[in-house]
Amino acid sequence: MKPLMRPYGDTLNDGKMQLSFTLPMEVGPKGEAVAKALCETMGVADATVVHSEALSEHFSFYILYGTLTHAVDSDAVEVRDIDTESMSKDDIEAYIDAHFDHPITFIGASTGTDAHTVGIDAIMNMKGFAGHYGLERYRHVKAINLGSQVDNETLLEEAIKHHADVILISQTVTQKDVHIHNLTAFIELLEAENRRDDFLLIIGGPRITHALAKELGYDAGFGPKKYAHDVASFAAQALVNKRSQSKR
């Protein structure tokens, strides 16, 4: 039997789900009808408008419950996640000790016009975040945090100057996909300078996923609830793999 997955309310496979959205039209029976019609286009049957309200004369808000008629075969769904195992700080230090004869250098920044530093600091600074020490506190690791509002050119220059092994980029503001533009521009810059293979490239932020990172041409991406040890585990192992591949 295929593990077909559908939403669940209180009876297996009942397909129940909740939706909410705004429509650029006056509130009223017409708006409700349009809201339900949109649900139909989505395969949401028997949609009920449980709440509607005017946001202004020209906009209205709807909350609906309905029954999703679609299902997905969960076996067929690909999970694009970091495949290296996450180690503890001690184990990572031991691993680096065993596999490297020099400390690993991480250089990091919150780039573009993004002034959010808490995310990159969480990964890099001594103190770390939520009880997980940051890279600065790791033995055999050199962590250089350039702070925020760093442009792509400066980041690359500094990375070259410090012989960085790993570049860490944080992006928090995502409105109008500004992070995508910014991250794409950095890859293009590296390629233009023929530097793509000199570094392990890791990105992170609240809306970053590993899948997105791979799509954009980065080596890994980390989102919320990921900490320094996750990043360091990946980086150390990926550097070893990279070395062994380039040797072949």
Binding site: Y8, G9, D10, T11, V50, H51, I63, Y65
Partner: protein
């Protein structure tokens, strides 16, 4: 946090309530009901259904109506039959059902030797005692918190209910109530076996009780924490369900005749008689009852009718005392139901909740969430529930029925319950020492409101004492619903007892409670 309350007024309320409830007791003590009799049979160990799915206990009582004399009580008939046939109650039931035997053949209009029932009664009582002891032991090791987070499951299917209950337990629920299907309260029998077909709730059957209890006990064995189980000793089978709950270790029972009278149109005499027995059983089994005053406020305006809740709580307290229940088993009901569009709604709610708290200091009050003024706006509903949760911890309520964001939409989805539990947990944490850090200002709106509600409750109780509860119910004082003494469902099941009538179960339980108390 404390309100200054006039103790004279409180005493007067209690005096009135005593008078009101005692008058009902005196009036109804000469009567019994078919459901009381069926309950006696269940406590003699009779279980199962006949070929037409009619429970044996119904078969027997119906049988006695035609082939015996029910006025003497079912125990009377059974004692004679057992004495004469030396068969077990269960065998007798089966044989009567098969038409192979008639109790009329053994009936005598003189007092039988009731001791023939003792071994069977002992067995049921022992089981109930064991269940009670098990509960007490487990709770001693893992004491119940306060407040206790209470959520409902209501899928209509006991197996789905179990999935939902286990998820709720995993998310921290302390109490699970299995809501009953819409039609059940008017059934004059208890359905049988595991069921999967209810609407707005799941049938209350002994097997469903057992399955859910087993699942929750499984949770307890894995995680140490005891999760309480609730059902409804209400409707036409009130005492039977109380008995089944006692046998299957339910921990709480919704149990309030006034609810049945008002909201299910059940005859008042029938259900008040049934209630008296059901409370004795629950008291004996250490089961907390929950009363239904909250429902008055879901139906009428909560601000105007606040005092009817207090008056009814006093009456319900006295009814519970008749059953020798300790205050610690009296989950008197009230609710957070004032229209959110009213200025200062939160202050009035605090006044009411704190008033109930202080009037019944030892009772594990059952505090119901906003329901009536919940809408499809699940975000506003989330805030309504948060305020209710704050009122709950600020006034130190005990049984905390969690409000669902989707109250106005559907019986809870699994995720609704998780959101409700998270809401409550967050409030408990954020407001931990709040009740002990603030005082109600003398002369403030909160205090004034509490005084007004108490005064009105007293006036109402004076009136009820004057006119009698039946007249009050006719006047539609509670929930704006009017019910006549001889109207409603189930009156046909009420009968006058013969002077020789005995209910050995009730007697033994009351004796045991007296003993426990002394």
């Amino acid at each position: 946090m404390k309100l200054t309350l006039d103790t004279h007024t409180i005493d007067a309320c209690r005096r009135d309530a005593r008078h009101i409830a005692d008058a009902i007791k005196t009036e109804l003590d000469p009567y019994s009901t078919v459901s009381v009799e069926r309950t006696v049979l269940r406590m003699l160990g009779i279980d199962g259904v006949d070929a037409f799915d009619v429970p044996y206990v119904n078969v027997l009582v119906d049988h006695v109506k035609t082939h015996g004399d029910l006025r003497f009580g079912i125990a009377h008939h059974m004692a004679w039959a057992i004495a004469r046939t030396t068969k077990t109650p269960q065998t007798i039931a089966k044989r009567v059902a098969e038409g192979a035997m008639s109790l009329g053949d053994y009936f005598e209009p003189t007092t039988p030797d009731y001791t023939v029932l003792t071994p069977f009664i002992n067995q049921s009582f022992a089981r109930i005692r064991t269940q009670r002891q098990h509960r007490e032991t487990v709770l001693e090791n893992h004491p119940a918190p306060s407040p206790e987070k209470y959520v409902i499951v209501a899928t209509g299917n006991i197996h789905e209910d179990i999935d939902q209950a286990l998820s709720a337990a995993a998310r921290g629920a302390d109490i699970i109530a299995v809501i009953r299907t819409t039609g059940q309260s008017l059934l004059d029998y208890v359905p049988y076996g595991a069921t999967t077909e209810g609407f707005g709730g799941t049938y209350a059957t002994q097997e469903n009780f057992r399955l859910m209890r087993e699942a929750l006990d499984g949770y307890q064995r894995h995680h140490g924490r005891y999760v309480k189980l609730v059902n409804y000793a209400s409707g036409l089978c009130m005492p039977e369900i109380a008995a089944l709950g006692a046998l299957e270790r339910l921990d709480m029972m919704l149990n309030d005749s006034l609810y049945g009278i008002i909201f299910r149109d059940i005859n008042m005499k029938r259900t008040l008689i049934d209630q008296a027995f059901s409370r004795v059983i629950s008291g004996y089994a250490g089961i907390t009852i929950n009363t239904g005053e909250d429902n008055y406020l879901t139906t009428t305006d909560a601000f105007e009718h606040a005092h009817t809740v207090i008056a009814s709580q006093f009456i319900n307290e006295r009814f519970a005392e008749h059953a020798r229940m300790p205050a610690t088993l009296m989950g008197l009901g009230h609710a957070y139901e004032i229209d959110p569009s009213v200025d200062n709604s939160f202050l009035y709610e605090i006044a009411q909740a704190q008033l109930s708290r202080q009037l019944f200091p030892d009772a594990p009050l059952k505090y119901m969430p906003p329901t009536k003024h919940m809408t499809g706006d699940i975000f506003k509903g989330t805030v309504q529930n948060a305020l209710f949760n704050i009122a709950c911890v600020t006034t130190k309520q005990q049984i905390h029925l969690l409000g669902m964001p989707t109250e106005a939409i559907h019986t809870p989805f699994m995720s609704d319950r998780a959101l409700a539990l998270a809401n409550a947990d967050y409030i408990y944490k954020a407001f931990k020492a709040f009740a002990d850090s603030v005082d109600i200002k003398p002369g403030s709106l909160i205090e004034k409101r509490a005084h007004a509600v108490l005064d009105n409750a007293r006036t109402l109780l004076d009136d009820i004492r004057e006119e009698g509860l039946f007249v009050t119910l006719k006047k539609g004082t509670f929930a704006g619903v009017s019910r006549g003494e001889n109207d409603g469902k189930g009156l046909g099941g009420v009968f006058k007892k013969h002077p020789l009538y005995t209910n050995p179960i009730m007697e033994r339980m009351l004796a045991a409670c007296e003993e426990d108390a002394s």
